[in-house]
């Protein structure tokens, strides 16, 4: 991507993010009805659940980009992977912070070792490990290679962690498409969809900035190397 297209794209994404976030927050705080049993704290759901979706999607991007790097050896793939991993970890942290705030008044405890919680926590630890690994490998190509391997294995581990913890749990059954008795009130569904869109836009915005930064770092490194040679 050339510089000017990049700027135009990121400006557009920035504008869209701001507009979507404002509208989604307006929905969350003023429009959507308060949930009957849980009360006002349930509104955190509109941040909690979309953040989880965004972070899972970004970790999926890490896995795809890692495979892409191993196949093509182009550093752009590695920049995609690191950008997605970092932003994904931030969203994952949001999930882990908003979850207990919601759980304490509703379940009566901050934390429960239930499959989805445990999986999200382990996922967070795996990708923090991934980012740590990147810090401690000096050479750019080697870093890309090793972290691609870890990115693929880390992503492959997630469904197994979920299954391993499936035996116990108190998370609400899937709200959407969870069979009989599931489903949201129409206003809640609308708000949720707006939140999903807004947080995806935010994720994309951060991802684009981080990707650009990594590409610029690569360029600077190459210039240094050319100067020294």
């Amino acid at each position: 991507m050339s510089d000017s297209t990049y700027h135009r794209v990121s400006l557009a994404v920035f504008a869209a993010t701001v507009a979507l976030l404002l509208y989604a927050f307006y929905q969350v705080f003023f429009i959507v009805p308060t949930e009957v049993k849980m009360g006002v704290v349930q509104r955190i759901f509109y941040i909690h659940m979309p953040s989880a979706v965004v972070s899972f999607n970004l970790f999926f991007v890490v896995c795809i980009a890692s495979i892409g790097y191993l196949k093509t050896r182009r550093l752009a793939w590695d920049s995609v992977a690191v950008a997605a991993a970092e932003v994904g970890t931030v969203f994952c942290a949001t999930v882990l912070i908003t979850g207990p705030i919601w759980a304490k008044p509703v379940w009566g405890s901050w934390w429960a070792w239930d499959p989805r919680l445990t999986t999200t926590l382990i996922l967070f630890l795996i990708f923090v490990g991934y980012l740590m690994l990147r810090l401690y490998v000096e050479d750019r190509n080697r870093r890309a290679l090793l972290s691609a391997v870890v990115g693929i294995i880390g992503f492959a581990d997630v469904p197994i962690v979920y299954m391993a913890n499936r035996f116990r749990g108190q998370h609400p059954a899937p709200v959407l498409g969870g069979g009989e008795g599931s489903g949201l009130a129409p206003e809640m569904l609308t708000t949720l969809l707006w939140s999903l869109a807004a947080l995806h836009a935010l994720g994309l915005l951060l991802f684009l900035q981080r990707y650009r930064l990594e590409q610029m770092r690569t360029e600077v490194n190459e210039l240094y190397r050319a100067l020294r040679a």
């Binding site: 445990t118 795996i126 490990g129 000096e138 290679l145 391997v149 294995i153 492959a156 197994i160 035996f167």
Partner: protein, 225 residues
């Protein structure tokens, strides 16, 4: 050379080196022993409590000792540029991975067999009531740890953090092994029928197969210069 011959040659080399120096096995055993003692001090369980928590303590002890042993196991290759020689060998990286995996697995299993009676004595457990099941759990659980550990010991040897990196990567990834193996060991120690652990057995076997294959495919990238 066929893949199997490469793997067994590497296995023989590792075992011979270990037999001569004994540094990895001594470290694992001593560390495992210390952990067992520390757990016994930290928890002081009654016999009933012991049966409930021993599975978890046992596997935590194994896991920590395994991290220690796996790190040393790969450090042997990085010393004196042995890794260079392995790269130059006319063998595909997949079979090198298998050789390393087998030698790690064998070493860890042997260490666990020595450590089991130690835990048995400290926590007053009847471990050998159903030896077949016990060995199966040990084999499946340790295989999972060794499969990922072999790859990740090579990854972490390539970083500036070296030994510190392995537990950070390995422990979160092996959570499924820990959960399933602890559940099964607790069933075994409580004297309950093993048929209750069908899900866990399948999970362990699935984990072992998936990650052995995946690491076997990816090992070459880690060895690359």
């Amino acid at each position: 050379m066929s893949a199997w011959r490469v793997a067994t040659a590497l296995l023989r080399k590792d075992l011979r080196a270990e037999w001569r120096t004994k540094d990895v096995s001594t470290a694992i055993l001593l560390f495992g022993f210390t952990i067992a003692v520390s757990f016994a001090f930290a928890f002081k369980p009654t016999p009933d409590e012991a049966r409930l928590i021993a599975g978890g303590l046992l596997w935590l002890g194994f896991l920590f000792s395994a991290v220690l042993g796996l790190n040393r196991g790969f450090a042997r290759e990085t010393a004196n540029n042995c890794l260079e020689a392995l790269r130059l060998a006319p063998a595909d990286p997949g079979s090198l991975y298998l050789g390393k995996l087998l030698s790690n697995l064998l070493l860890l299993l042997l260490a666990e067999l020595v450590l089991l009676p130690v835990f048995g004595v400290f926590f007053n457990l009847t471990l050998w009531a159903r030896p077949g099941w016990l060995l199966l759990i040990l084999l499946l659980g340790t295989w999972g740890v060794a499969a990922l550990g072999t790859l990740f010991s090579a990854v972490s040897a390539n970083t500036r953090m070296q030994e510190l990196m392995l537990p950070l990567l390995l422990l979160p990834l092996t959570v499924p092994v820990l959960v399933a193996a602890v559940d099964l060991t607790t069933l075994l120690l409580a004297g309950r029928p093993m048929s209750e652990g069908g899900l866990q057995f399948r999970l362990l076997a699935g984990f072992d197969i998936i990650f052995t294959l995946l690491c076997w495919l990816l090992f070459g990238y880690v060895l690359e210069e």
